[in-house]
């Protein structure tokens, strides 16, 4: 007899706007407090203290335009945020400061979240959708120099890039980029050569979100239709469809695989969060708490497994925090 699904451990309220993105930073030692960053539609980035469940700081850097991506760069003192004001801001939050130290103007009016990858101490690569419709630009941070621009072939008709993921096969080797496009295909790019290595049509509708497990070289993508697609990378760097999974209701806005690669979570347009086992995509739970579309899901990076959390941000202004399968 299966147990009914658990309730959220707690719910963060107070954003007063739809929540579009979430990012945890809980890896630091005591007495540092675990925090959660959330970006909302009203342009604020809230820094939530996970001990008191209250907002510690609210950052206003995008001129009240929606913030749709937040990432940390090595600890919670350095934050990167991307907003609909066509800017990417870098923040310095150490010692209570709330200053924007640098910003990158992307001139892109889309919704594609950027992807960050640490390549060396203090050096980052960031992939972001560029000004031209189908292009992806890769920049190095903090120098803001362009590494390469990835242009699909003429006539490929991929549409806008919808989601990006930078990854490295093992430490030190060449980084690669996986990009999901508006036409439903996922393309693997080689950055040094600026060429597409492989393209796979996974969906009939735009790819809304994807995530990749570099150890097993397996990835998963979700779209606005009812199908989740799992694909893998073989030795020749070719993408192949591995499996598909049909959902009850259409529309996935975000997918994320937990750092320990055991489970993954999907954020649905039907207000539900779905948990699957990563190994075989076995459905494990359907968390039904929110009353509007769930825009983002994120797993925490707690060092102690039993403290790990899952956060989900939704259009109903709430962020639910769950402790599940820890």
């Amino acid at each position: 007899m299966a147990l009914p699904p658990p309730d959220p451990q707690f719910v963060l309220r107070g954003t007063s706007a739809a929540v579009h993105t979430l990012h945890f930073s809980c890896g630091s030692q005591e007495p540092a407090v675990p925090v959660l960053f959330s970006g909302s539609e009203n342009g604020f980035i809230h820094v939530w203290n996970l001990k008191t469940h209250r907002v510690d700081t609210a950052l206003d850097g995008h001129g009240r335009k929606s913030v749709y991506c937040v990432e940390t760069m090595g600890g919670k003192d350095q934050l990167l945020s991307q907003g609909r004001d066509q800017r990417i801001c870098l923040w310095d939050l150490a010692e209570g400061r709330t200053a924007v130290t640098d910003s990158v103007c992307t001139e892109n009016v889309g919704f594609c979240r950027c992807s960050l990858l640490k390549v060396a101490q203090g050096r980052w690569l960031m992939a972001v959708a560029a000004k031209a419709l189908e292009e992806v630009q890769v920049l190095e941070l903090p120098s803001k120099t362009s590494v390469c621009t990835l242009k699909p072939e003429v006539g490929a008709k991929l549409g806008m890039p919808m989601c990006l993921k930078l990854w490295q096969p093992n430490c030190g080797s060449q980084p690669l980029l996986l990009a999901g496009y508006e036409d439903g295909s996922v393309v693997l790019w080689n950055l040094s050569m600026g060429k597409a290595l492989s393209q796979l049509v996974c969906h009939q509708e735009p790819v809304m979100s994807l995530d990749f497990d570099s150890e097993k070289t397996k990835g998963i993508s979700g779209s606005s239709e009812k199908v989740l697609s799992i694909w893998s990378l073989n030795e020749q760097q070719n993408l192949q469809v591995y499996k598909t999974h049909k959902l009850v209701n259409a529309g996935i806005s975000d997918i994320t695989i937990r750092p320990d690669k055991k489970i993954l979570a999907t954020a649905g347009w039907d207000h539900r969060i779905r948990i699957f086992g990563w190994k075989n995509l076995k459905p494990l739970a359907v968390l039904d708490y929110h009353t509007a579309t769930v825009h983002a899901v994120s797993f925490s990076d707690h060092k102690i497994p039993s403290e790990r959390l899952l956060a989900a941000g939704s259009k109903d202004h709430r962020i639910s925090i769950w402790s599940i399968y820890t």
């Binding site: 147990l3 086992g277 076995k282 599940i324 399968y325």
Partner: protein
């Protein structure tokens, strides 16, 4: 005094005389607090002492009998003790009988439940006295069932009588019930009718509880009468009176020595159910997995049977809503529409204004098709939203429907509630476009679809009076709230005057002055609240004048709920109409009302009415004083 007569003839009549005289002078407490315990002990086992005690009370002259008997009944700790002390006094002595069976039960009502228990228990203990018990029960039921008693006696007295009835019932035995079954049934039907007819919820409850008890006693095997009401403390207390567990019930006349042992027996055995240990709630572990093992085949899935397809969405346009609500057979869509209606109306005021009357009509007639939680509240909020969006035409429609044929009482009362809620919303200043008005200093009028608005109303008037007098002391300490034009100003008349116009015109299905006095009561309270909310509007003086005339016409109404409403109306007028206007334009009505208020304070049977009238008189005094202090 410890002498053993041992065969001597002694006369203790002088002691009776002393006792009587002392009691009638009001010293019952002192003398009986010594005498009764002593006699209780002495009569416990000794027959002779019992006889002496009986002689003692029997010899008290008639003119002092009442005081003595009253004192004994109040002092005796239990019914059997009373029985030992008084013996068959009530049977032998006419005066004592009158006191016990008539005066203490029907004419007085201040005694405690314990005293009632003693008294009725005493009557029940002896076969000679049991006849009196039955007689008492019949008389109590007659009073309980008389509609004039229900209307004119204060609620406390009615409660007392109900308690007495319940205790009598608890003492009755099968054969006795058999013999008077028909009469019990007849009185119960009579009584239930007039109790349920009352506007005060307390009276209704009492009626229901007593009727249920009688019915359960009469029909022990058949179906019993069962009402639906709130189980509050009073109900529980009354019901507990039905259960008598006397350790000694049957044995007649000569007091038995064995009985006295049982007298020390334990209290009525309502055994407390042993505290059950908490049912071992299966601790629901949030993490069901064995995360230690590597394979995720060991992650146990949760129950996902609730994961179904998402239901249909609610319509986003007002005209679509109208379509769905009037014609659609799709129940899901209908439900979604009902839930979304209020917010849609508020978000689309322009579109709503185009179809406001039609929409109001549909929502007024909306019946519950499926089981939605909070349907009544949803419907009411939708109606309020429509009314506030387009006040004048919709108010015109609703007030005209209030007086039309073929509406149920619930619908008419709904109309009144909606008018008040909308008036409240319109008359409060809007802060940042939000309709939630929680003002810390002003009292909030909470109108729920229940029937207790009269109680809240009293509280509000009290608070308003208090706030008026306190205002001179505190300075400007609150932040100025955003002010806007009073939206109620232009529509107050449209809400108020149509309601007051036709109250004396009876229709075939609706007669405010006749049977439907419940709705009349609600109407009066509604008018009071509308008057209160009309403060600072232009029409307030005209409204005040009309309202006072209305009150004058209805001032002798027999229903106390209506009278309370009328008094609230007067309070509203005094509070809302500016003092100068009151004195200039409304003087005659004010003077007439003042004389009526004086009458109410002295003669009205209902305590709440008296209090309200007194408050009104105080308000008038304050007004006069205020005007005198203003330099002219």
């Amino acid at each position: 005094v410890c002498f053993i007569p041992g065969g001597l003839d002694c006369s203790i009549s002088f002691v009776s005389h002393v006792l009587g005289k002392v009691c009638v002078h009001g010293r019952q407490k002192e003398i009986l607090s010594v005498l009764v315990p002593r006699l209780t002990d002495l009569t416990k086992s000794d027959c002779i002492w019992q006889r002496i005690c009986w002689r003692l009370v029997e010899c008290v002259p008639d003119r002092w009998m009442e005081a003595v008997v009253l004192g004994f009944v109040q002092r005796a700790p239990r019914a059997d003790v009373l029985s030992r002390l008084l013996g068959n006094l009530v049977v032998k002595n006419k005066k004592a009988q009158f006191v016990v069976t008539q005066k203490m039960l029907l004419l007085q009502y201040g005694h405690t439940t314990a005293v009632l228990q003693n008294l009725l228990g005493y009557l029940a203990l002896d076969s000679l006295r049991r006849a009196l018990l039955i007689k008492v029960l019949k008389e109590l039921l007659e009073t309980w069932g008389s509609s004039s008693a229900v209307k004119h006696s204060p609620p406390e007295q009615q409660q007392y009588i109900s308690k007495a009835i319940l205790i009598c019932l608890s003492h009755l035995k099968e054969p006795e019930i058999e013999s008077c079954r028909q009469e019990l049934l007849a009185s119960m039907m009579e009584g239930v009718k007039c109790h349920l007819d009352s506007n005060l919820p307390q009276i209704r409850h009492l009626g229901m509880i007593v009727a249920e008890s009688i019915s359960s006693k009469i029909n022990t095997d058949g179906p019993v009468l069962k009402f639906q009401y709130e189980e509050d403390d009073e109900a529980r207390e009354l019901k507990s009176l039905l259960v008598q567990t006397p350790p000694f019930c049957v044995v007649p006349s000569p007091p038995d020595d064995d009985r006295n042992d049982k007298a020390d027996a334990a209290l009525p055995g309502v055994l407390e159910s042993n505290k059950k240990s908490h049912p071992a709630a299966p601790v629901k572990p949030e993490e069901e997995s064995d995360a230690e093992l590597d394979s995720d085949d060991d992650l146990i899935p949760y129950d996902m049977s609730e994961d179904k397809e998402l239901k249909t969405k609610a319509p986003v346009y007002i005209r679509d809503c109208i379509e769905v609500l009037t014609g659609s057979e799709d129940v899901d869509k209908w439900e979604a529409t009902v839930k979304a209606l209020e917010s849609l109306v508020r978000k689309n005021p322009a579109a709503t204004r185009e179809v406001s009357v039609e929409l109001a009509k549909i929502v007024l007639h909306l019946e519950e098709k499926t089981c939605i939680e909070g349907f009544v509240e949803l419907r009411q909020r939708a109606q309020v939203a429509i009314l506030t969006t387009d006040p004048i035409p919709v108010a015109k429609y609703l007030t005209s429907q209030f007086y039309s044929l073929n509406y149920s009482l619930r619908q008419r009362v709904d109309i009144l509630d909606v008018l008040v809620l909308a008036a409240q919303e319109l008359s409060y200043p809007k802060s940042h476009g939000k309709t939630k008005h929680s003002d810390a200093q002003k009292p909030c009028i909470q109108l729920l679809p229940s029937r207790d608005s009269s109680k809240d109303w009293r509280r509000i008037v009290d608070e308003r009076i208090k706030s008026k007098t306190r205002r001179f002391a505190t300075g400007q300490s609150q932040v100025e709230r955003a002010s806007g034009p009073n939206e109620f100003n232009s529509v107050a008349g449209h809400f108020f005057f149509p309601l007051i116009q036709h109250f004396d015109r009876p229709l075939t299905t609706f007669d405010l002055l006749g049977e439907d006095h419940f709705v009349l009561g609600r109407l009066v309270h509604t008018l009071a609240i509308l008057m209160y909310l009309a403060v600072n509007t232009v029409a307030v003086t005209a409204m005040g004048k009309a309202l006072l005339e209305f009150v004058w016409a209805l001032r002798f109404h027999t229903d106390s709920y209506v009278r309370q409403g009328l008094l609230s109306c007067i309070s509203s007028v005094l509070l809302s109409v500016p003092a100068e206007r009151l004195l200039e334009d409304v003087t005659e009505e004010l003077l007439e009302t003042q004389s009526w208020l004086g009458d109410v304070v002295e003669k009205d049977p209902d305590g709440d009415c008296k209090r309200l009238a007194l408050q009104n008189l105080l308000l008038m005094e304050n007004l006069k004083k205020k005007l005198k202090t203003v330099p002219s």
